[in-house]
């Protein structure tokens, strides 16, 4: 499996085997081979370059030996060391990881259970229930953020608890917006399940629990792993909802980066961001690997 997804490579390799030039005669290209027309390649290539250039320069300039983020002055790791020695940043990072792990475990379990309920049972009001489950996905983030702020303020959720209990309100909010996504992913996986296998297991005397553990769970697993990785990145990346739920002593990584960006644009932020981008990309690759053939995301 090639690890390089850069569009340049894609375009080059695609044209390479035939050793043809871009000015080749039009008759070489079939009427519907739009993707092989040079203007289409140029446009798509330019758009992908624009999509990636900001992120790649951000990552490159985290190694730049200059405070001014614009001219290349030589390679250095000093901003990584600086970021590592920034206690506030490291604490925020630890908070983010803690929240992401707990929220991933909870939302994966809850989301998978919801998915199984929707996959297995017929019950009155099912369409409404499904719509209700999709609400956190469609509601604007800022609305959900202020709702969490109001909720925890109104019920007087204790603040100033010892770590990690002080992260509980953020974790609860993260589970609330993550598990519907897990449910969607797991349910998409379950549509491919042959129910005769389940019936066969039961005919052969397996109990409800044995059937689940030995037949349904192994099939469900790739969907669960993909859902869990999605929940993990959602939690790690969330800024808006956390911004309203976090207090002065419960700062997460994105909230910390936000406050740093508000002050100034420094290579230290670039270094911290690069670390997060790398973590996210690795998680994404695993998610893609585990994911069953993805159906179109039109919905």
């Amino acid at each position: 499996m090639p690890a390089d997804t850069s569009i340049d490579r894609v375009m080059r390799t695609e044209a390479a085997p035939r050793k043809r030039r871009w000015w080749r005669r039009k008759s070489d290209i079939g009427a519907l081979d739009y993707a092989r027309r040079w203007w289409m390649k140029l446009f798509v290539g330019a758009m992908f370059a624009m999509l990636y250039a900001p992120i790649i320069t951000l990552m490159l300039f985290s190694f730049n030996d200059s405070r001014r983020n614009i001219v290349w002055k030589g390679f250095t790791f000093k901003y990584y060391i600086k970021a590592w020695n920034n206690d506030g940043l490291i604490e925020a990072f630890a908070n983010s990881l803690t929240i992401a792990v707990i929220s991933t475990v909870l939302s994966t379990i809850i989301g998978a259970m919801v998915a199984l309920t929707l996959w297995r049972f017929r019950f009155p009001g099912k369409p409404a229930y499904e719509g209700f489950m999709a609400l956190p996905i469609v509601v604007p983030e800022i609305c959900m953020g202020v709702a969490m702020l109001v909720f925890f303020a109104r019920i007087g959720w204790p603040s100033g608890m010892p770590w990690p209990l002080n992260l509980s309100s953020i974790t609860i909010a993260h589970v609330a917006f993550s598990f519907p996504f897990v449910a969607v992913v797991v349910r998409a996986r379950m549509t491919g399940f042959n129910r005769e296998l389940e019936e066969a297991a039961k005919d052969l005397g397996a109990s409800e629990w044995q059937t689940f553990r030995d037949v349904i769970l192994p099939f469900m697993k790739p969907g669960v792993v993909a859902g869990a990785l999605l929940a993990f990145t959602l939690s790690l990346d969330d800024f808006v909802i956390t911004f309203f739920t976090s207090g002065p002593d419960t700062v997460t990584f994105p909230v910390k980066v936000y406050s740093m960006v508000r002050f100034s644009v420094t290579p230290e932020v670039n270094a911290a961001s690069t670390v997060l981008v790398v973590i996210t990309v690795i998680a994404t690759f695993f998610a893609m690997k585990f994911q069953a053939p993805v159906k179109g995301s039109a919905d």
Binding site: M40, M47, P136, V138, I142, A147, L149, F179, V261
Partner: protein
């Protein structure tokens, strides 16, 4: 699929955690905001629920109407720009050789997984006065000037006395560019799903019968992929309308959107009832857009059938 009555125990055990979580930690908070939007601020920390409509009436004041209106047209412009850029991309992917399709799709989706804050921050470095765009422009300006000097036109200073950096950051243009940049995958994916489903023999038939590529595109491709276009528009427009971070970081004080006003009511201005009313107006707009999509896609489905 079996009825829930066949195994009530399993049904309840499996559905309870999700239902509980969503009720207590989503529906209750939302209801609290809804109730608060009919409240009145009586002190610094006290809010009385008087079921007044004052907060909603206040949101029709000119200042707020202007911001709401601006949020709508900024989001609309960004959505249109997204559509114009995403359509050729989706088109190219769906006509690309099969072995490249998954990688091209991954290349579209990958930025979507990267932290929104980091992507927005990356744009600051591109747009600011001493950013990459201005830096490249200055480089071009220097180059052009030295050519002019070389051909002996240097003394006329045709390009101005010195390079002036363009103010690219902290205006509506920056916010629109940010929204397009961030929400592009939402537009490409539904378009791709629809173009991919398109029966390519229709295009061949149209071309065989003498229609030009342009005519084929407008008369065949666009009408048949309309459901994807509508989905994409809604999927970009809704989060764009509610965006807070992008106008906050790229727009500064000059280019605030409704999300920023809501945030200010809950943080700096400390007027929760008014902020609640505004955030429910945003929710109603979202549900309106979703309902519109449902209606349009039903009509589209009827047309195809």
């Amino acid at each position: 699929m079996e009825s829930w009555k066949t195994n009530r125990f399993v049904f309840w055990v499996m559905s309870l955690p999700g239902t509980f979580w969503l009720l207590v930690f989503f529906l209750v908070p939302m209801s609290l905001v809804w109730i608060m939007s009919f409240g009145e601020k009586t002190g610094i920390l006290t809010i009385d629920i008087t079921w007044t409509l004052e907060n909603y009436i206040r949101s029709t004041e000119t200042v707020y109407l202007e911001i709401i209106w601006k949020s709508v047209w900024v989001s609309a412009l960004a959505t249109i720009a997204c559509l114009l850029i995403a359509y050729p991309i989706a088109f190219a992917i769906s006509f690309a050789p099969n072995r490249w399709k998954p990688w091209l799709l991954l290349a579209v989706i990958l930025p979507f997984w990267i932290n929104l804050l980091i992507r927005t921050y990356a744009l600051i470095a591109v747009f600011r006065t001493r950013g990459f765009v201005n830096f490249s422009l200055e480089w071009l300006w220097d180059g052009a000037n030295s050519i002019l000097n070389f051909v002996g036109l240097g003394q006329f200073q045709l390009l101005g006395e010195r390079f002036e950096a363009l103010p690219l950051l902290y205006n509506n243009g920056a916010v629109i560019a940010g929204i397009v940049y961030v929400f592009m995958p939402f537009m490409v994916l539904p378009l791709y799903a629809n173009i991919e489903k398109l029966d390519k023999s229709y295009l061949e038939a149209s071309l065989d019968l003498g229609a030009s590529h342009v005519r084929t595109f407008w008369s065949i491709v666009v009408p048949l992929t309309m459901p994807g276009i509508i989905s994409g528009i809604i999927l970009v427009f809704i989060p764009a309308l509610g965006s807070f971070l992008i106008p906050d970081l790229l727009g500064g004080t000059n280019a605030q959107m409704i999300g920023n006003v809501i945030e200010r009511q809950f943080k700096a201005a400390n007027d929760w009832p008014f902020g609640s009313a505004l955030s429910f107006l945003l929710m109603y707009a979202t549900f309106g857009a979703l309902a519109l999509r449902a209606v349009l896609s039903r009509e589209g489905g009827g047309m195809n059938a």
